[in-house]
Every structure is written in structure tokens, then in C-alpha cells.
Amino acid sequence: MIQVSITAEAISPDAETARFAALRGAACGAAVTFVGFCRGVSQQGDVMRLELEHYPGFTEREIGRITQAVAERHGVADILVMHRFGAISPGEAIVLVAALSAHRAAAFAAVEELMDYLKTDAPFWKREIGPSGARWIEPTAEDRRRREEHSK
């Protein structure tokens, strides 16, 4: 089952992962989970909070479409994507991606590809708020490189 949730609520990664993993059938041999946290420090210094803007409707649909495509490409039936928007404090989870699969290679590939997409091309606009003000963030060169590499 594909589950995509774009939410302003705090994400509890362990509770969500447990709930999702409970769906698995007898043929499931592998669960891969990624959690991305808001960091308290960045290249610009201390981070007080992040503000993530999304485009309601459009963002959900784009992420759902990409998730479906990744699931089909890797033959992974069960993928969970949860992504915060709004104000996020250091230490809080921003994103959770989990995949259940018979074998581990497909689950790793699906989660990594989705994260590469989510970190670079998902419809979010992000501001980092630090002691000296707010700053819009765009994907890093490293994010772009990983994305190119995986889309080869």
C-alpha cells in the first residue's frame, strides 16, 4: 500500500514505522526506514527553526505520483511517505520514508530514490531562521549530484 501524508503535525517516526510495518505479509523480508531531522546547526550557523511552505493539493499530488512511480520501478508494494510543513524545531522529524519488500535491495533503492527526489525536487520552499534572520534554502550541489546519479 502507498501511503502519502503531508502534514503540519509532529511526526512520531517509531509509532508510524510500527503501524506501517504491521501491514507486512509473510513474504516481507526487509524494512528500510529513513528519518530526516531538523538540524540545530547548518553551514550558516545556529538554526532556531525551519519553515517549510508547500502548495496545498499540488504538493501532495506530485509526491504521490513520484512515490507510485518509484514503487512500480522497484517492485516495492508498500511505501510510506510522511512530510511536515510549517514551522519545525531542531530535533524534530521533517520527513519519514519507509519501504517494505521481500528483499532488501529493492527497499533500499526505493527509499534512497524517494529521498533524493524529496530533498531536491519536491514542491516545498524552505526558510531557515537563525539568530541573524531568515534565509531561503535551495538544494545543495551534493543533493543535485545524488539525484542525477540515481536518475541515470
Binding site: 517549510l52 511552505e53 502548495y55 524529496l118 516545498f124 520552499w125 524552505k126 531561503w136 534554502i137 535551495e138
Partner: protein, 84 residues
């Protein structure tokens, strides 16, 4: 009536996240819309003409400046995506 949406740093440039307008008769295409908005606010116009700004017409990304906007109910301007 058309809802215009300004996302990310375009919200800062516009001074608001969205507004509802009645398009004047001469605004027929995406290009017309950009010019009309630029005529009303030079700073916003400059921001909307930057490279990498995408236009989304009724939640579908628009790839042609000649796309008609007269029947659109919602048009969004998206700066380059930040990712999550």
C-alpha cells in the same frame, strides 16, 4: 475571478501569499499575465521574470508562455523548489 498564488520567496516579493483578481480583457496568456503583474509592481515583475520561476495553471505545471489563462481559476508562481 482568478486566484493568484505566490510561493516561497515570491510571497516576499508580492507582499502576500495569494490574491483574487479579475483579469483584464487583454490578459490572455501566461506571458500577458506576467507583464500585467510587472506593470502593477516592478519588483514583483522582476522576480516573476527570473530564471527558474514555474507557473502552475489549475495545479498543472505550464510549459508554454502562450498557454491561455482566461479559464483558469488558480494560477501559482513557484520559485525553484527547495525540497524538503
Amino acid at each position: 475571478m482568478t486566484r493568484l498564488i505566490f510561493l516561497g520567496r515570491l510571497r516576499d516579493a508580492a507582499g502576500h501569499g495569494e490574491r483574487v483578481v479579475t483579469l483584464p480583457a487583454h490578459v490572455e496568456t501566461v506571458a500577458d499575465l506576467r507583464s500585467w503583474l510587472a506593470a502593477g509592481d516592478g519588483d514583483l515583475g522582476a522576480a516573476l521574470h527570473e530564471r527558474g520561476i514555474h507557473v502552475v495553471v489549475d495545479q498543472v505545471i505550464c510549459n508554454r508562455e502562450t498557454e491561455n489563462v482566461r479559464d483558469a481559476s488558480e494560477i501559482a508562481f513557484m520559485p525553484p523548489l527547495s525540497g524538503g
